[in-house]
Symmetry: C2
Subunit: 390 residues, 2 copies
């Protein structure tokens, strides 16, 4: 078991109507706010007006950057960083889902350096020693960006989609009001669930010694997602379902469940290559890849973890042979993702063919090996891609 | 489901040898340290020397306050607050279990006020707006004081034992090294487990709507305690067992699992009256009271929660009648506490007779009603006491 430092000082305002604390929270950090958001759904939902009203009442000076796209682009980050410099912004307020939050984090870092923000991601890997304070209002339960210090940015020019973590990027405060997710579509709700499941499984499936307590927590989160995602899809304004999914999204990836485990993730790097080229929804890509990755990695040395997963999460009868339980567990997960959540289950269904398999697999492995639950080489990833074809 | 604010910025250094970061952590807060500890076990174990060496290497000026007793007394708090004032202390370092940590918290608050620290607890209920920074090194997995903002102080003059919470009392950093608990006796390990179990059940048994995700987490912590306490008792230097218990102790009571539930606790106020008069170990008192309290509160309106507990924590067959499952769950918990952990199971076994039943019950109810899972009047608490006689 490895040592670790637990340090997640994000203050979370959870529940309906907590937005009333937004003004006081922002004022802790200054007067000049850069408000960032995506395609305008927050205007349709009324959230934009609510946020603006809170800031007006607090006497804050607000600048706006809209149109942050899903799979957010470096161009948005550049624009935000420049606005921060031009207007001497004190604090950034990101209102939206993971894309808006991720982009905003690197604007906050980019505001305090002289170089191009893409240097945080390219071979320069420029250090992130500090960032302007970030506050978030979440509208989609999925990426966990509201309570972690990472983000993923795409560069269409280079067909790269790269993640980066740095402690200064951790939001100072996040507002989690489940009612803001009532307007999330069935499809996006399902994709968010797939994203959360992957966050958990990337950590859960490990060969490192880990804390049983944290395994129990991860199993609890998986059970929560399995229980409440169908409810939220059927009843979009079910507060209990939306609340459980929202709080789970934060805890699935805020680092708590790592508990000292250091192994690299597998499905996320693989999926990032998919959505870098095909611009598919991140959660959908993860849904397609994850069960295949589990099947590809399964062997006699690691079957016990699959058994634990199958028995504790899906209630599979533990008296069966281990390999049978493992395969049933993967089948149960696939059934949940593709039947219950109604997500597309194959690459052809989402328009991916074999054209870029070699390139994507090579990039996912960083040219060498993708370390993780089971180290994967380019040919391994290509085989996982092949499994996704049907 | 109630709204809540999640805000636990304590930085936790978890794992063997993390003490090497102690000097740098303390120096964030200043130069003059008040080191507090208990009866000297930290000198026998070598931890005292390790701590002093870290502080010497960091060039810190150290003052010492020893002999903080279990069920810590207001007199220790007074002494510590005076030392802070006399020596212009910058930061307090508590090395020990919950008693040392609790007392140190109120020294840190008492250092910044002019009145007697007991005024934090008596009818004046003096406000706690600020406190000197607190850092802790934990040697006993039980109270969770290392990651919460509360503590309990006894006043032998008034036979009071009173808890108080205030955000400024939250430790800035805590060092959780499971090897520091290797010397904890079987008995104290068992009492610590009983304390943790009670912390969880006080929140788990609720009539308020709560988050399923948090119920899963609580069940996971209970399973962790049930799995690893016997291991730690049999093999005191089993790192995996000590680590799981240590991290569970923090999360059982740091406020996370409350998730907006506001109902008052029941067994803790009742037990505080016992140990205020009889000075028994807090966890032992809780072990005796908790199963009786569960049995006393059980009825048709709340049986489902007992069923959830019995099925998810003890794996009881869910196809039985609900009341049967509930009673079996209580029996299984009693068996764990009194047979597996070998704790005394009755009041007579620990020297408590009926002499003070009425007084203790009245005080536990604050003269009126103890609100909680089931509101209890004085006569209810007296009946629970009576159940503890055999």
């Amino acid at each position: 078991m490895n040592n670790f430092v637990y340090d997640i000082p994000t203050r979370v305002y959870f529940g309906e109507g907590q937005i009333k604390h937004l003004g006081e929270e922002l004022k802790k950090y200054g007067q000049r706010v850069l408000l960032t958001y995506g395609g305008g759904s927050i205007k349709r939902s009324g959230l934009y007006d609510a946020v603006m009203q809170q800031m007006a009442e607090a006497g804050l000076e607000v600048y706006e950057l809209a149109d942050i796209a899903p799979n957010p682009r470096i161009e948005s980050v550049r624009r935000g960083a420049e606005m921060c410099k031009a207007h001497q912004i004190d604090v950034l307020l990101a209102v939206g889902g993971g894309s808006t939050l991720d982009a905003t984090k690197f604007m906050a870092a980019g505001a305090l350096v002289d170089h191009d923000p893409w240097d945080f991601f390219n071979e320069r890997w420029a250090p992130i020693h500090r960032a302007l304070p970030i506050v978030t209002v979440l509208t989609l339960s999925a990426t966990g960006s509201e309570m972690d210090c990472g983000g993923v940015i795409s560069n269409p020019d280079t067909q790269d989609k790269i993640g980066r973590m740095a402690p200064p990027l951790l939001p100072k405060a996040s507002f989690l009001d489940p009612t803001y997710t009532y307007t999330v579509s069935q499809y996006q709700t399902a994709c968010g669930a797939a994203d959360m499941i992957s966050h958990i499984l990337e950590v859960y499936f490990t060969t490192e010694p880990d804390l049983y307590m944290l395994d129990c927590f991860m199993e609890g989160m998986l059970k929560t997602i399995i229980k409440y995602t169908p409810v939220a899809m059927a009843e979009p304004d079910n507060y209990e379902a939306r609340a459980n999914l929202m709080w789970t999204s934060s805890w699935a990836i805020n680092g708590f469940v790592n508990g000292g485990k250091r192994h690299a993730w597998s499905c996320h790097p693989i999926e990032h290559e998919l959505s870098a080229i095909y611009d598919i929804t991140h959660g959908l890509g993860l849904a397609i890849v994850t069960p295949r990755w589990m099947k590809y990695c399964l062997d006699e040395t690691n079957v016990d973890k699959y058994v634990q997963f199958g028995v504790n999460v899906f209630g599979i009868d533990p008296s069966q042979p281990a390999m049978d339980i493992a395969h049933e567990a993967i089948d149960r997960l696939s059934h949940f993702l593709f039947d219950t959540l109604q997500l597309d289950s194959t690459f052809p269904a989402v328009g991916i063919d074999r054209t870029h398999f070699a390139t994507m697999a090579r990039k996912a492995c960083g040219g060498k090996v993708l370390p993780g639950f089971k180290p994967l080489k380019q040919e391994d990833v290509e085989q996982i891609f092949e499994m996704c074809m049907a």
